[in-house]
């Protein structure tokens, strides 16, 4: 079962070389063997998985046409609600929360035949860049278990890297899909804002939150995106924009496409080996016939401060709902006010409290204009940078992260150093453009390095096409 792709699974089930049920059992066996040392899974939903697998097997037995994800073992970051399956957001405050409905993205994967194995570990409420903020346990990078898998979707990246799922879903508010994809050596896509419904995604920062796929190949990421993209009446920010057939477009040649390179993404703090690998990847794109064009994204250095105001302000509002009244943890108290405080004090971890505090401060009377309004204005400038650049180029190439995966514990006591791990990823969230991380080599310690590509709003087609062409070019002949 090593190296399985979505198409391998679907065709093997169709040709009756395997069954969805047997495959699901094989994956559970593998997870039970591998995961104790990795920590990617928080909850299994074996009953739901096997019921779905049996439906797929029945279809195959009848010789019916199989849906695109038929029998494909997938797993879901634990910030997406799943009906009847515990959903914690990596937090103690939701330790026993069993949602009464399904996230749209999850429901669409299942409708396309996917077998959902379980829920994946992550930083609490998706707040973190190393997965060390999970209230349950840290995730270890399968490529080097002394290192972090990245975050916040660390479990989603690790599960794919360790082949405990063929594809997974993660969420990306400031890089939480692309950064762990880079650290674990897999492909991770953050689509355009509005491309995938956020209904049922536990809200962190609503204007920045995105759902996206992880897989081992660009093609698999394209297949998963296609099944879950598109307008959803349950999310008014999901866009009424047609969903192209990404897979059909993948093989189109990239010759003549213009690839932008911005010096702002190659400045101080970029590791020399990461730089060399990314520059080699850009050279490879040039060899494939792309035209490499210098572009400028002059406000890039303001992205992190802007992000940490906007994201925390929205978070402070979104997390106000955790008060112990309707669901989740409730602390014992004599008065209502005391109950709210004790519940939140006991239920939230330090990073979540830190962000609620920062966001509340930025929105508080007297500071609103200086921080929140200012950040919203700079967000406009950062978005304009991309608008200008995309007049000249079709995609932009950059490193996903300034370094390869760091050690567990290395940055845990320095929140600002941790925030800077997102320096190359947050801008795409502020602007809402799609971004992908594709493996582009390893450093001297055999740690993966990621190439990041951006494209225009709703142009995942070109983004995936270039990523696919690059990936193909790296395959040994």
């Amino acid at each position: 079962m090593s190296g399985l792709t979505i198409e391998d699974v679907r065709s093997a089930i169709g040709a009756k070389r395997t069954t969805a049920s047997g495959l699901a059992q094989d994956f559970y066996t593998r997870i039970r063997k591998e995961d104790p040392e990795i920590g990617a899974f928080l909850t299994f939903c074996e009953e739901r998985a096997l019921a779905q697998a049996e439906r797929i097997d029945a279809m195959a037995a009848e010789g019916l046409a199989l849906p695109p994800l038929a029998g494909v073992p997938v797993a879901i970051k634990d910030v997406m609600v799943t009906r009847g399956v515990r959903t914690t957001a990596g937090s103690r405050i939701l330790e026993n929360f069993v949602p009464p409905y399904d996230c749209t993205a999850v429901a669409r994967l299942e409708a396309a035949g996917a077998v959902i194995l379980g829920k994946l570990n992550c930083d609490e409420f998706a707040m973190g860049s190393s997965n060390e903020n999970s209230a349950y346990r840290p995730v270890h990078n399968p490529r080097d278990k002394s290192r972090v898998p990245g975050g916040s979707s660390g479990g989603s990246a690790a599960a794919v890297a360790a082949e405990m799922a063929v594809a997974t879903l993660g969420s990306d508010t400031g890089g939480s899909i692309r950064q762990p994809a880079s650290f674990c050596g897999v492909v991770g896509l953050k689509p355009t804002y509005g491309r995938v419904s956020r209904y049922g995604l536990i809200a962190f920062a609503s204007s920045l939150d995105h759902i996206g796929p992880f897989a081992r190949t660009v093609k698999d990421v394209a297949v998963v995106l296609r099944t879950m993209a598109g307008r959803d009446p349950m999310d008014s920010t999901s866009a009424e924009v047609p969903v192209p057939d990404y897979v059909a477009e993948l093989e189109k040649p990239v010759k003549g496409l213009r690839v932008g390179v911005a010096k702002e993404y190659f400045g101080e703090g970029l590791d020399v080996e990461v730089r060399a690998a990314v520059e080699a990847a850009i050279q490879k794109l040039a060899e494939l016939g792309c035209e490499v064009v210098p572009v400028s994204l002059p406000h890039t250095e303001y992205a992190i401060p802007t992000y940490y105001i906007v994201a925390t302000a929205e978070a402070s509002s979104n997390l106000a709902r955790y008060d112990g009244v309707r669901y989740g943890f409730r602390a014992k108290a004599n008065t209502l006010s005391e109950m709210y405080r004790r519940t939140r004090d006991g239920g939230f971890g330090m990073e979540v409290k830190r962000r609620i505090m920062l966001g509340t401060y930025a929105l508080s009377a007297g500071y609103y204009d200086a921080y929140y309004l200012k950040a919203q204005k700079v967000r406009t400038l950062l978005t304009r940078d991309f608008d200008e650049a995309f007049k000249k180029v079709d995609v932009i190439a950059a490193p996903t992260c300034p370094t390869a995966a760091f050690k567990l514990g290395e940055k845990v006591n320095d929140p600002l150093a941790m925030y800077l791990a997102d320096i190359y990823t947050v801008t795409a969230n502020l602007a809402g453009i799609p971004g992908i991380s594709v493996p582009c080599g390893e450093n001297h310690e055999k740690l993966p390095i990621g190439l990041q590509l951006f494209a225009r709003h709703f142009d995942e087609t070109t983004l995936l096409r270039v990523a696919h062409a690059y990936e193909e070019s790296r395959k040994p002949l």
Partner: protein, 112 residues
């Protein structure tokens, strides 16, 4: 701008957090270090720049119209037969820490 102990206490109160003594010490240090970094935004002249709240503002917004009509693209059709089905009552209270089956129960709100 420098955050003080008093600010930490005030903001914690707004956020419905108590925070332990130790947490307050950490918070004071961390907020100051992060806000110092954020200060660099003041280098930018933004008096003529419009704030951006949402990416979706860029799609479908009709700038020639006024008020909520600008967002006509996001308006849903009325549902013909009443409202969309909501969660059954018993399902909605299933996760409640304390319920009598009809209401969410909480500690006394009004002191006698």
């Amino acid at each position: 701008m420098k955050v003080t102990d008093k600010d930490v206490a005030y903001v914690a109160d707004l956020a419905n957090l108590d925070l332990t003594v130790e947490e307050r010490v950490h918070m004071l240090r961390d907020l100051n270090s992060i806000l110092e970094y954020i200060e660099r935004l003041s280098e930018l002249e933004t008096s003529e720049v419009a704030p951006m709240a949402q990416v979706s503002d860029r799609y479908g917004v009709d700038e020639t119209r006024q008020g909520s009509d600008r967002f006509a693209y996001a308006i849903r059709e009325d549902v013909k037969d009443g409202l969309r089905e909501s969660l059954p009552h018993e399902v909605a209270v299933e996760n409640a820490p304390d319920t009598d089956g009809t209401f969410f129960e909480v500690p006394k709100v009004i002191e006698r």
